[in-house]
Subunit: 377 residues, 2 copies
């Protein structure tokens, strides 16, 4: 589920300059060659649905296996034959984010001018840049319209920007556990993660490709992230039982870190392997594009930002999402209503926390019905 | 407000072994000399009130100045002449935690056997050890009874343990924004902080005193802490206005980190100076004693833990405290009721977040009246 290049990813190389949104020192920034990594499932003649990635997600949203083992593909419970996003009925695509390291151009890509990785010479990436790179791929693949764009978290940012930049291309937008801007809590926790990476002694200003990797800083960053992906209530439910069952909790093995609480083991398990796999600069670029995502500031207001949108919207939030609390979704719903956009709001009563949209049980019990209804409209 | 030795701290040296609670490899652990750093205010003939420190707090809770400038002493709005904890009426003490670096023995103290800092040779510290070291000092100072013990956060842990270990010594216990155990969110965020410190290349297994300090890791740890000390709602109120007023939010100066959002500047301001000032091993020891604080696990249940308590209790929580949510305080209240302990519960409607008890306006508006009433009983 990490965002490094999945064996099943295809990579399309566009031998044409890609111009980025943000100039540097007043000068336009571009790369001479754009690569786009993606996976696709289903018949290209069917209506197309684009699944957008969250921060660390690879192109491998599903593997079309009809099994209930959802270990690897990150949205196998959502996307597949007979699933909510039914690959028998839709042509489904998942595209790696620009700036990432899962097949699309990013700071770890080779700069053709130097033959070495761009590292921090890679231009700054915004969500708008990501969406434009995705549009180039879809255009190349002959997709003329998206039946729907769906994504959780940062994937929801992309879904919104699709509706703004390409109003005639997109029929349905479905941001899940997302918002129209990053709030200050996200900005702060993202900053801790960026600093954790950049202060790793191995980071060396981003030029680490010829030496040891800043894996420790990346692991710390990831641990910070994971403390925000599950709600405190869920952590208690998930881990407290182990804590209670320990017969000798005060053995010095804990203090001497020969033993850990289950919650600590969990953090280590999800973070240390990831840190060997994902490009640290990519993480910095993606976190920055998250932090700087703010449709209200960029367009003057959320209402002005959503003005071009023609798509129907379905906005999904979960009551216990502590990273993207429902008030953020509700601001979007309110703005869509003001703008006379057709919008449906689903507030899921669910205290799992931000990652709710990835959990098979929650998908089957709480997301499938409203999503199928909305997709059938 | 950092916990390194304050110029006004006194240090009492006890030339006697201090035995720690936790054996190592089955063997009792001790230090041959115990130092205790503290400050005291008011007339020692008055009833004594002990103010306990939270994670990073120094002995310098107040400076007795009657000014409204609360920049340095961390509880100047609470403790002082005419304040809630009135130094004209009470003899007030604040003692640095064992394992810290504010005057009381800790991993940065010199091991008399080697002439060098203990570093990780310092025995493991529990909240019980802290309280026993405080009792030794009070006994030496001739204090026979505590009129009250009060503390926020980890300071509340100490207040509870005072009531358990020395039931005849303590008349009133006041944990503020605290609990009877660390929940899994604390365990996880503490673990990130410990890893951030210990994975700093300069940490070198805790033996950094003869070289560069692991300040970066400590700064990252501190930043993680600060994302939990203020509620997301408060962050939004405090920092969003700056964010909105920026005319050119998408200038690349932000991406290139020549400029930061106010929320990011705040994190840097509170964390980087701290990291040059506080001992990294002390932070690890104190975080571990926090993580491993669990009266329920230790005594079999919270009810069993509180059995010896004779003191009256006043338990204060704030509705918006996301680190020590009110349910933790309410479990204590419920247990105290079951145990027929006289207990008063104050749930403050206040969404500032965990640090509410340090904010002068909140102290004056919401804490002073109930606390004065309780202290007058």
């Amino acid at each position: 589920m990490t965002g490094s290049i999945h064996p099943q990813a295809k990579i399309k190389v566009f031998e044409q300059p890609f111009v980025f949104e943000t100039p540097h020192m007043g000068k336009e920034e571009s790369i001479p060659v754009l690569e786009v990594g993606y996976e696709e499932w289903g018949d290209p003649r069917n209506p197309a649905i684009l699944v957008c990635c969250a921060l660390s997600q690879s192109t491998h949203a599903t593997d079309l296996h009809d099994s209930d083992d959802f270990k690897e593909p990150w949205w196998g419970a959502m996307v597949g034959p007979g699933r909510t996003i039914d690959t028998n009925r839709y042509y489904v695509l998942c595209i790696n984010m620009l700036g990432g390291c899962g097949g699309t151009s990013g700071p770890a890509s080779i700069n053709p001018d130097t033959g070495k990785p761009y590292e921090l010479q890679f231009p700054i990436v915004t969500v708008e840049d990501m969406v434009r790179s995705q549009h180039i791929l879809l255009d190349h693949l002959g997709v003329k319209k998206l039946y729907a764009v769906i994504g959780g978290s940062m994937g929801g940012f992309q879904a919104l920007v699709w509706g703004i930049l390409y109003p005639d291309f997109v029929e349905r937008i479905i941001p899940v556990g997302s918002s129209g801007y990053s709030n200050q809590f996200m900005i702060m926790t993202n900053r801790v993660q960026i600093d954790a990476i950049q202060r790793d002694a191995n980071y060396r200003g981003g030029s680490y490709h010829d030496g040891p990797l800043p894996s420790m800083g990346l692991a710390i960053a990831r641990m910070v992230g994971f403390t925000t992906f599950i709600s405190p209530i869920m952590m208690e439910r998930k881990f407290r039982k182990y804590h209670k069952s320990e017969r000798e909790p005060f053995t010095d093995a804990y203090f001497h870190q020969q033993m850990f609480h289950e919650a600590e083991n969990y953090l280590h398990t999800v973070s240390y392997p990831f840190s060997k796999d994902f490009d640290a600069n990519s993480m910095v670029y993606l976190l920055q594009s998250w932090t700087h995502f703010d449709l209200a500031v960029k367009y003057g207001s959320l209402a002005k930002a959503l003005e071009p949108v023609k798509a129907k919207m379905m906005i999904i939030a979960a009551s216990g999402d502590n990273l993207f609390p429902p008030y953020l979704a509700e601001e979007l719903v309110k703005t869509a209503n003001v703008n006379h956009i057709s919008v449906r709001y689903e507030l899921i009563e669910e205290d799992y926390g931000h990652d709710f949209f990835l959990i098979p049980e929650i998908i089957f019990e709480k997301l499938t019905v409203p999503l199928k209804e909305f997709l059938a409209e």
